[in-house]
């Protein structure tokens, strides 16, 4: 059954029509136009489709859009270029092909919101579900540490 729901994506309300089985991923890509949200595996195992809903990470390739009526969704496009995480990723060269990086940026944002000064182990624990096939992990780890410093200087 088609229903209309409202998604607040990066601060802007979008009224979209979805079926019972429509995925949040497809709504964001095809109706809202936020193509930083990407399908890498379709089974919630790579993290390329990560978005934040009310600040919590969600694998949008597994999420039924209907359940997100009224939710505040953040995608990487919605982060400012001067955002601590974004600017740290850029400065640390934490992107090669960059296809998976928006997912890492959002996971890192979630981590630093919950835990402003994570240890290296905590960074690893939080990001281990995201796959970067170019192997940018050392730079990503440095970027998250840099962003933590930038958001809450010791």
């Amino acid at each position: 059954m088609t229903v209309r729901i409202t998604l607040k994506v990066n601060g802007v309300d979008h009224r979209v029509a979805v079926e019972d089985d429509t995925l949040l991923l497809d709504v964001l890509r095809e109706q809202v136009g936020t193509t930083s949200v990407r399908e890498g595996c379709g089974v919630g195992a790579c993290g390329a489709c990560t978005v934040l809903s009310g600040g919590s990470s969600v694998s949008s390739c597994l999420a039924l859009a209907r359940r997100y009526d009224g939710a505040e969704i953040t995608t990487a496009e919605g982060l400012d270029e001067n955002d601590a995480v974004v600017s740290s990723f850029v400065e640390c060269g934490a992107a090669q092909c960059g296809y998976c990086i928006p997912g890492f940026v959002l996971m890192s944002t979630e981590l630093l919101t919950d835990n402003p000064r994570p240890t290296e182990q905590e960074i690893t624990d939080h990001l281990e579900g995201n796959i970067c096939r170019c192997g940018t992990y050392p730079e990503i780890r440095r970027a998250v540490a840099t962003a933590a410093q930038r958001r809450s200087p010791a």
């Binding site: 890509r29 936020t34 193509t35 930083s36 949200v37 990407r38 399908e39 890498g40 595996c41 379709g42 089974v43 195992a45 790579c46 390329a48 995608t75 990487a76 496009e77 982060l79 270029e81 974004v86 990723f89 850029v90 060269g93 934490a94 992107a95 090669q96 092909c97 960059g98 296809y99 998976c100 990086i101 928006p102 940026v105 960074i123 690893t124 990001l127 281990e128 579900g129 995201n130 796959i131 970067c132 096939r133 170019c134 192997g135 940018t136 992990y137 050392p138 730079e139 990503i140 780890r141």
Partner: protein, 771 residues
């Protein structure tokens, strides 16, 4: 920065800010408008003749536009339906018979992807089963044949003699014969042998393959995820029997590739469907389908290495079998390029290698970062390590003594230049503390160190072209067909051109491959772009510099020799004119452009058919080394990497930051191959082809310390002495780790990956032997 020039600078990728926020758009992000979405019905049989293909039920589903079979396409295209880089053996849709589980049999075109995918389940096929060829043993010893006869393509002239050969699954054999290796082995004092296996693996670039094709005024146009736009244009022109001018292939930046998105993937089917139906078609592979499009060759190596009483290497013998699956793809090339370096980068008196490319009823294997060389490096770096242990010598020092030096001739006949194995090996050994005492551990956790070196030839011969438009405002537009898939080629090509033109590299825009506009370039693969396309770019920039200097000479009314191009403009003596002003003055118009073009082509001496030797089989060599310190948990078999150092001789680093990322990125990919990464097939059926089941390195798999080391021994003909680096770091990872495991716990493993189970089993076997 300009004072030192752009080359050698750690310039960030020009589009990093956009990539981090996901603003760089990819092929799959492009709106397609009214299009037919395509899904594929796949074979359930590994090897069978196709009877009737029942499409009626699928056609009757609402939203389904058309269903086409291999027979439909064959009616239209005949044998042109069969394509491939080495052998024209692969149909866009199976025709007459299927050769692996998952092979495309029918294509459904529908209003949306969900409908198309649902309709593929309503297609069914009558099969007449044939005996399957599941593995190398079936293929080499059995009587079933995957193909009735060999069909070399027109791409490589030296495969022509194989046309029409029947009753074999071996589509290519490369042989290296240098001296009498058998006699030397028999006369030698110490011989080590091994049966090595490297399993099939998958590239898994996170971006899924996607192709959009349409017909525009009698031309076939295509937007596709490919590393090889020039190749794809030729393939499509051949398939549709069109002049090249009526085929246009365009790309976007790729979300990773590693060899997965090259040669014939979705493109022939997309072109055939668009051409046949007149519709715009969009094909995208699901992750499960992407696993079936191409794989890395599983390879078996039976080999030996012999030393004389003084410890000199006297004989290397190897029998290499690459399992290429149902279609040859570029397997025959992999077989030769890897076969010739199977003895390793050592001074060895004699060598005999037989390297074969073998058909089986499995998904096709093709190019993968390293082009088959990691599989033979697995053999030679394990053997020489074991030989050192056997002789009671230090594995580092034993290698070092025998490594090829500048000017040395490799066993396959080509000399070494700009391939500093010794410095690579020394630097990784130093980095991991090889010369310092090792706390080996006495309980359950044992510590060890290992090293390995790697050698690979660059793709030769190849062609690169570049066109440069210098804009009146002193910015520039560079047209090349190199595809930036994360390696940062757009950035370093701009750096090379900027250095020659004494301008800011950020004022140079690199145009994405579009065969209507960007000139021919063989392929973006084999780590060839920095050297080859880089040379074309340097030349085109030099040609442009000459033009600007000529204009300057006119302007100043002096000889060209008296004019110099500087960051401030053209200078003659005390006088300077800004470039923008000079070009404006020349054309009398703002926004005008000057155009230059350049070519860089390499040549080779084809290897001798009998001996496999050539005095110039490659334009240059890649040289690398790996050093590892690790621990093994003897109770669980788990390996923990404490420090991994990866060194590569890149000639000269155009951008050291990007070089280091290539080294560490390749190392991380290699860690997966060493410890857990493998495709599992059961009776030809892929059983772990989803990311729930297929394990890839995550941030948790990083070594505690990962050290990239850039070694620079400039190449005489490289742009500023540079060579490529994309594959160098992956060659020796698996053997370096296995050698460190051998050092830690005394067991020699020869089957990859080194799973905890395999290590525990080996330790138990060792205990039984000792008790």
């Amino acid at each position: 920065m300009l004072e030192q020039g752009w080359v050698g600078g750690r310039r960030a990728r020009f589009d990093t800010a956009g990539r981090v926020r996901g603003l760089v758009s990819h092929v799959g992000d492009q709106p397609v408008g009214a299009a037919a979405h395509v899904a594929v019905h796949r074979s359930t049989q590994p090897h069978a003749l196709i009877g009737a293909v029942h499409t009626e039920d699928a056609l009757a589903m609402p939203g389904v536009y058309a269903v086409l079979t291999g027979a439909d396409l064959y009616k239209q295209f005949g044998d042109r339906l069969l394509t491939g880089p080495a052998f024209a053996d692969q149909p866009a849709l199976a025709h007459e018979k299927v050769r692996y589980v998952g092979e495309p049999v029918a294509a459904v075109l529908a209003a949306d992807l969900a409908t198309a995918r649902a309709a593929t389940d309503a297609v069914w096929v009558d099969y007449d089963e044939l005996p399957p060829v599941y593995d190398l043993a079936d293929a080499l010893e059995g009587s079933a044949f995957v193909h009735d006869e060999l069909k070399p393509s027109s791409v490589f002239g030296d495969l022509r003699h194989l046309r029409g050969v029947r009753d074999t699954n071996v589509n290519y054999t490369y042989t290296l014969r240098h001296g009498d290796a058998q006699a030397a082995r028999e006369a030698g004092a110490h011989t080590v042998t091994g049966e090595f296996w490297a399993p099939p693996t998958h590239h898994v670039p996170i971006e899924l393959p996607c192709t959009i094709a349409w017909v525009d005024a009698g031309r076939l146009e295509m937007l596709t995820t490919t590393q090889t736009p020039s190749y794809v244009r030729q393939t499509i022109a051949d398939l549709l029997d069109l002049p090249l001018s009526r085929v246009r292939v365009t790309t976007r930046p790729l979300g990773g590739s590693f060899g997965a998105k090259m040669y014939d993937r979705l493109e022939p089917l997309a072109a055939a469907l668009a051409w046949t139906t007149g519709r715009k078609v969009r094909l995208v592979a699901s992750r499960e389908e992407a696993f079936l499009l191409t794989t890395r060759h599983g390879a078996a190596v039976t080999s030996s290495l012999t030393a004389d009483a003084e410890g000199n290497l006297v004989s290397s013998i190897a029998d290499v079998r690459y399992d290429t699956g149902a279609y040859a793809d570029v397997g025959p090339r992999i077989t030769a390029k890897s076969g010739m370096v199977t003895p390793g980068p050592y001074r060895i008196d004699t060598a005999h290698v037989r390297s074969r490319c073998v058909y089986t009823n499995k998904p096709s294997a093709g190019p993968f970062r390293g082009f088959g060389v990691p599989q033979v490096t697995w053999s030679h770096e394990s053997l020489i390590d074991e030989l050192a242990h056997r002789l009671g010598e230090d594995p580092y020092a034993f290698r070092r003594r025998h490594l090829l030096r500048e000017g040395d001739e490799a066993p396959m006949g080509t000399r070494m230049h700009s391939a500093d194995f010794v410095t690579c090996l020394d630097s990784v050994a130093n980095a991991i503390g090889w010369f310092e005492p090792l706390e080996r551990g006495s309980g359950r956790i044992r510590r060890g160190r290992g090293v390995a070196v790697g050698v690979k030839a660059v793709l030769t011969p190849t062609i690169a072209n570049a066109v440069l438009q210098f804009n009146q405002d002193a910015s520039a537009t560079l047209l090349i067909s190199t595809v930036d898939m994360g390696q940062g080629s757009d950035t370093i090509m701009a750096q090379i051109a900027a250095d020659v033109l004494a301008m800011n590299s950020e004022r140079i825009h690199v145009v994405r491959a579009d065969t209507d506009a960007t000139p021919y370039d063989t392929i973006t693969a084999g780590s060839r772009s920095t050297y080859h396309t880089g040379n074309a770019v340097r030349r085109v920039a030099q040609a442009m510099r000459d033009k600007l200097i000529a204009l300057g000479a006119q302007h100043f009314e002096v000889a060209e020799a008296d004019v110099e191009l500087t960051p401030e403009g053209l200078r003659s003596g005390e006088r300077t004119v800004p470039v923008a002003e000079l070009v404006h003055g020349h054309f009398g118009a703002r926004g005008a452009t000057l155009t230059a073009e350049a070519n860089f082509t390499t040549s080779w001496a084809p290897y001798d058919k009998e001996t496999g030797r050539s005095e110039k089989v490659t334009e240059h060599w890649f040289a690398g080394a790996i050093g590892v310190q690790l621990t093994v948990d003897t109770a669980t078999g788990r390996v923990h990497l404490e420090h991994l150092a990866v060194a590569g001789d890149v000639g000269r680093a155009i951008n050291p930051a990007l070089v280091e990322q290539q080294l560490t990125g390749a190392a991380i990919m290699g860690i997966g191959h060493a410890l857990f990464d493998q495709l599992v097939l059961d009776q030809g059926q892929l059983v772990n082809g989803t990311l729930l089941d297929y394990q890839l390195p995550s941030i948790r798999d990083l070594p505690d310390k990962l050290t990239p080391i850039v070694v620079e021994s400039p190449h005489d003909d490289g742009p500023f002495g540079a060579k490529g680096v994309g594959e160098t770091g992956i060659l020796g990872i698996a053997p370096a780790i296995a050698n460190a495991v051998r050092d830690a716990v005394g067991v020699r493993l020869t089957t990859l990956p080194l799973t905890p189970e395999s290590i525990v089993t080996a330790l138990e076997n060792k205990q039984e032997e000792e008790s």
